[in-house]
Amino acid sequence: MSVTDFFVPRSLDEALSLLAERGSDLLVMGGGTVMMRMVNDGLLFPRQAMSLRRAGLDGVRSANNRVEIGATTSIARLSQLDAVPLLAQAARLFGGPAIRHMATVGGNLFVPQPAGDMAVPLLALDAEVELASVKKRRRARLDAFLAGQSARADDELLTAIHVPVAAGRSAYLRMGRREANTPSIVAVAVRVLTAKDGTCTEARIALGAARLYAMRASQAEAALVGRRLDASSIDEAAQMAMGECDPFTDALASAWYRRKMVGVHVRRALEQVVN
């Protein structure tokens, strides 16, 4: 009755063929930190499973002002990624050291909030995800992917994340119930571009643990564009973010508190960018 097959494909093609052959009964894992926990806890009883750890999907490549991050690149590797400081900073605040070595960035994009932290900096960086099946390859905007509008089909695998080398200043703040290695009460990534006169020309505000999936606070972003980043515009953006988020209650915090913390941390992140 236990697992009869555990596949460790050596290439993407091999992985995709296995998936095409076996369909959605095949449990797919990246780093396995979520799936193996569910197996251990008796929440999943898979008959067949596949790990992508050896499928050649890890690694980081830079070209044409874009960084391509393989789906199974570890969080530990991202924490050393100087080319994308916002991502590196978020990676350093993720889990504990061992989890960072095991968890993969692609896998984490499938993890529900409040544990799917890596989506937050990636949203602020306008990342795209690349998906492949035996038939085709496609790219999707990360926000659409997370919101389920461009979700993974049963025969697809997430293969890479494409991050434009982003201009502007950025900050990442994350709050939990203890200092480290704990799910988020809220995570906030902000990135802003300003003109010479200090006017904000572009703003990205991404929120984790503020909705069932990581989200952009687009009304808050709009509140900044065209204005100087000062106490009043920052306050307004924080208020907008509180209004447009849709937080949930769990063991760590109530929706009421999460909404409050969205406001506080959006403001603090923007203040950090300004100073």
Partner: protein, 448 residues
């Protein structure tokens, strides 16, 4: 104090090398050839009537060696503190008619591997037919007459000598309040917490050729566990040999006799060694907790800081069954007045049952909760009357020779001395009259 030889020396731990090399043997490190694994099927609801337990599909699964239900338990109804006179037996080893909390054990699966046992247990859960009933969760509601009685004796409190609470009566508390310059009140609430030792509950039982059972257990109390297990199994205690003594953290969480009886029955039924290791989820959700306790304090205080009356009402949420709570509430009662000299005291302490995982022993239970309430209350008093928090404690701290509300003479008080030492440690300068105080400065009559 006389200087001694080896007592007083910081010699290294005897188990230290074993611990740092990983060679200390804990219960989970015990393996026998041909050993089976046990998994529990637990109630999915907080309160309900069991309509049907169907184990047939699970029993037919390859690798399942046995399923154990209430019928396999010789003395299914028990309470662990029967050994110190707590009664009646109120808890089934395995539920068969009704369930009283989410996670209550219903039946056990024994299988060739842990995975198979887990999957078979999940199957039985799917095949289980339970009629859910509304749970009683709030202690204030539970003690009201209109609340449904979840205990067989017809109400929701433990009965102490025919009363639904333990009480302390010392002096005349109403006269104390009448005399007081201030009345200070406060309500204090703790929520249930888990011991969370890194080692979960584990038990390994090996049937021996002579008919005895060798029980490897991480209980904090070997004989207590052995005697309770023997009662449940209806065998003489000498049929059992308990081996333990090395435990990966307990904090009071491993005194409930919660793994050994079932693992023994599984080993007897299959005639094979059996291991039962609790998952972390079981540990959090289904092992007993520290109780939630609600305490209401009302103190009468004089302008000079003397507390002249203290009235306390305390409700302990015992969860579904006794476990150690009836004992804990008695200890709680004795400690609710605090280490202070108060001439008029009134305490009512209730042990209340709800449809929640049972609470039981945990590090300092009975006292931890009281100390929390008392010490915040002391600061409230200090703030109310405008007195320094050090002084309010020092002038009320009990002294050797005084009578405590339980009518025991204080003989080894050092509260004053720890206050003085703590002030010194943090560089807080106490005024001369407080530095001059001592736990021995009471001389047979109350000069205050």
């Amino acid at each position: 104090m006389k200087q001694l030889g080896i007592v007083g020396q910081s010699v290294k731990r005897r188990d230290g090398v074993g611990h740092v090399t990983g060679q200390t043997q804990y219960v989970d490190d015990v393996f026998y050839p041909n050993m089976l694994w046990l998994q529990m099927v637990r109630s999915p609801v907080a309160r309900g009537k069991i309509r049907r337990i169907d184990t047939s599909r699970a029993e037919a699964m390859p690798g399942v060696a046995a399923v154990i239900t209430a019928q396999d338990v010789p003395n299914n109804w028990y309470t662990i503190l029967c050994l110190i006179g707590i009664e009646p037996n109120d808890e089934p080893v395995l539920a068969h008619e009704e369930v009283m909390y989410e996670g209550e054990p219903i039946c056990a699966v024994v299988a060739e591997t842990e995975d198979i046992a887990r999957e078979a247990a999940a199957q039985i859960l799917l095949d289980l037919d339970i009629e859910e009933q509304p749970p009683v969760l709030d202690v204030e509601y539970a003690i009201r007459p209109e609340a449904p009685a979840i205990k067989k004796w017809g109400n929701n409190t433990f009965m102490y000598d025919g009363m639904n609470h333990r009480r302390l009566r010392f002096g005349d508390v109403e006269a104390g309040f009448a005399q007081a310059d201030y009345i200070v009140e406060g309500t204090y609430q703790l929520s249930p917490i888990e011991h969370a030792p890194i080692e979960t509950h584990v038990c390994v039982v090996k049937p021996e050729p002579d008919g005895r059972l060798t029980v490897h257990t991480n209980t904090q109390a070997l004989y207590f566990t052995m005697d309770n297990t023997a009662i449940i199994l209806k065998v003489p205690s000498n049929r059992l040999r308990m081996i333990g003594g090395t435990v990966g953290g307990g904090f009071g969480g491993k005194v409930d006799v919660i793994t050994e009886p079932i693992t023994c029955i599984a080993a007897m039924k299959t005639r094979r060694p059996v291991k039962w290791r609790w998952s972390r989820e079981e540990e959090f959700r289904y092992s007993s907790t520290r109780a939630a306790v609600k305490m209401e304090y009302k103190d009468g205080v004089m302008k000079d800081g003397r507390i002249v009356a203290r009235k306390v009402r305390s409700l302990q949420d015992a969860g579904a069954y006794h476990r150690h709570s009836p004992y804990g509430v008695q200890k709680h009662m004795a400690n609710l007045p605090g280490p202070y000299n108060i001439p008029n005291v009134w305490v009512d302490a209730y042990c209340v049952y709800t449809n929640r995982q049972p609470s039981s022993a945990m590090r300092g239970f009975g006292v931890t909760e009281a100390s929390f309430a008392i010490e915040v209350q002391m600061d409230r008093i200090a703030r109310t009357i405008g007195m320094d928090p050090w002084e309010i404690r020092l002038i009320n701290a009990y002294r050797n020779g005084q009578m405590r509300p339980v009518r025991k003479i204080v003989e080894d008080a050092t509260l004053v001395e720890t206050l003085q030492a703590a002030a010194q440690l943090v560089g807080h300068e106490l005024p001369e009259h407080l530095r001059a105080m001592s736990s021995d400065d009471y001389h047979g009559r109350d000069e205050r």
